[in-house]
Amino acid sequence: MRQPLKLHSSIALSALGVGAFLLAWEALARSGVVPAGLLPSPSAVPGAFLAEFRSGTWQAMVFASLSHYLSGLALGTVLGITFGTAAATWGVWDAFQAWVVRMLRPIPSIAWIPFAIIWFGVSKSAATFLIALTVFWINYYATYSAVRGVDKDLIELGHAFGQGGLIPRLFKIVLPGALPGILSGVRAGLGQGWMTVVAAELFGISGLGARMSDASGLLATHIVVLYMVTIAALYGVCDFLFMQVQQRVLAWQK
């Protein structure tokens, strides 16, 4: 059996792991085994950050990507939860849309890039569309499963106490009961959304992905790494903040 670690031991070991990884990377980059253009050293990243920050490029790219991300995330989440709830609640609607869902679901969001550019041009709207599409499916399935999994006894309770009508049943029993599953979907969407941000921007829509694409074309790999770290940090912050909200909203769970 694995023994659980104490919190401070766990933090110390995590920090040690990250430090060892950076040191090994730095050593490899300085050894000359790999050309500097192919593998930048991590020590080059802070300098790249300062240069990008002073020129205002870093802030502009972060702002642009956040703008695509948040609008796509909001749109995909709201629509995914709405359609997932509708399909899980009404059998007729579920049957009507089941095969449309089966046909569309396997198509990855990036396969829609040509259409996104045709419909919206190389614009913020195109990025928002692609991110929303990714986030939509995650939330659709998470919500569908969560709503279908709501305890039927609680639905009966609603009927017994005059809350069996569609609106009270939905808002007082079904959605609160499905909330843990729905929030898991939202959280998964937070991560997948960032992946799509980069994919969408690699095609020229202004933002972190576009800047990485430009920098790689010039073999400025230290700038590529800077923006990789930036994406990781932004995702980390989003996920951390969401977890705080999730813990408060689900305080009723043991």
């Binding site: 006894d153 309770l157 017994a160 106490f161 005059g162 809350q163 009961g177 009723w252």
Partner: protein
């Protein structure tokens, strides 16, 4: 069969009620003619699968009888529900604190917020959980959860309190404590109680009338008056009489 007397103040009338599951399956319970007096405490007993809980659900309007008529003679007071139900598993909404669980049945009734909160507080007081309103259901013991279920049912000021083996999942000490609490609540509120149990001693301890279901398909095989309380002189004899009545009509 000791025919129970029915006076003019019946609160529930069942006439020729038959119950089944699915249109094709044979009925499990037939020919139920039953009139329940206002303020009485009626226990329904019988073997598993005889349709006790389903009969309760028919009265609650959660299950449709295959035949017959169910009439609830409700008092036409504003801001109440004619029937309310206490389940075996308490069935609290885990995302609502205790007070909000008690408030659940009051939502949608035409009463002011002040009255609603007063009724929640009064119901919690009645089950002796005055200070538990801010707790989450997971912070309660099994007995406390069941008390909240009773408070929720009483808060809507029902004509009839339907109880479906409410103490069946509790340990013996908690069960006996809650049985005495229920007798006190019945005395204080004067509510009509229809109580399903498979425990004959519980039925004899609590009810002033006991309906025994048996046979296949099941029907009412005994309808007896009872003096509630474990200390009553005929407690043991009454339990034995019910037990033999069930055994005579029991088929597997």
């Amino acid at each position: 069969m000791n025919g129970a007397k029915v006076n003019g103040s019946a609160v529930i009338d069942l006439k020729g009620v038959a119950i089944g599951y699915g249109a094709e399956a044979p009925p499990v319970l037939v020919d139920v003619d039953l009139s329940i007096e206002r303020g009485s405490f009626v226990a329904i007993v019988g073997p598993s699968g005889v349709g006790k809980s389903t009969l309760l659900r028919v009265v609650a309007g959660l299950h449709t009888a295959r035949a017959g008529a169910v009439t609830i003679h409700e008092t036409k007071k504003p801001g109440h529900r004619p029937v309310s139900l206490v389940f075996q598993d308490a069935r609290l909404l885990p995302w609502r604190r205790v007070a909000k669980n008690v408030r659940f049945g009051l939502e949608g009734l035409p009463i002011s917020t002040t009255e609603r909160e007063e009724r929640v507080a009064a119901a919690l007081r009645l089950v002796r959980l005055d200070d538990y309103g801010r707790r989450w259901p997971y912070e309660l013991s099994g007995g406390q959860r069941q008390r909240v279920g009773i408070a929720r049912a009483l808060a809507v000021d029902p004509d009839i309190l339907l109880m479906d083996e409410p103490f069946g999942a509790l340990d013996a000490i908690t069960r006996h404590g809650l049985q005495d609490e229920l007798l006190r609540i019945h005395r204080e509120t004067g509510k009509t109680v229809l109580f399903v149990t498979h425990d004959l001693e519980e039925a004899v301890h609590l009810a002033d009338r006991i309906i025994v279901l048996g046979g296949s398909p099941a029907r009412i095989v005994q309808d007896v008056r009872n003096e509630p309380g474990r200390e009553s002189g005929g407690f043991r004899e009454q339990v034995e009489q019910l037990r033999s009545g069930i055994a005579d009509n029991y088929s597997i």
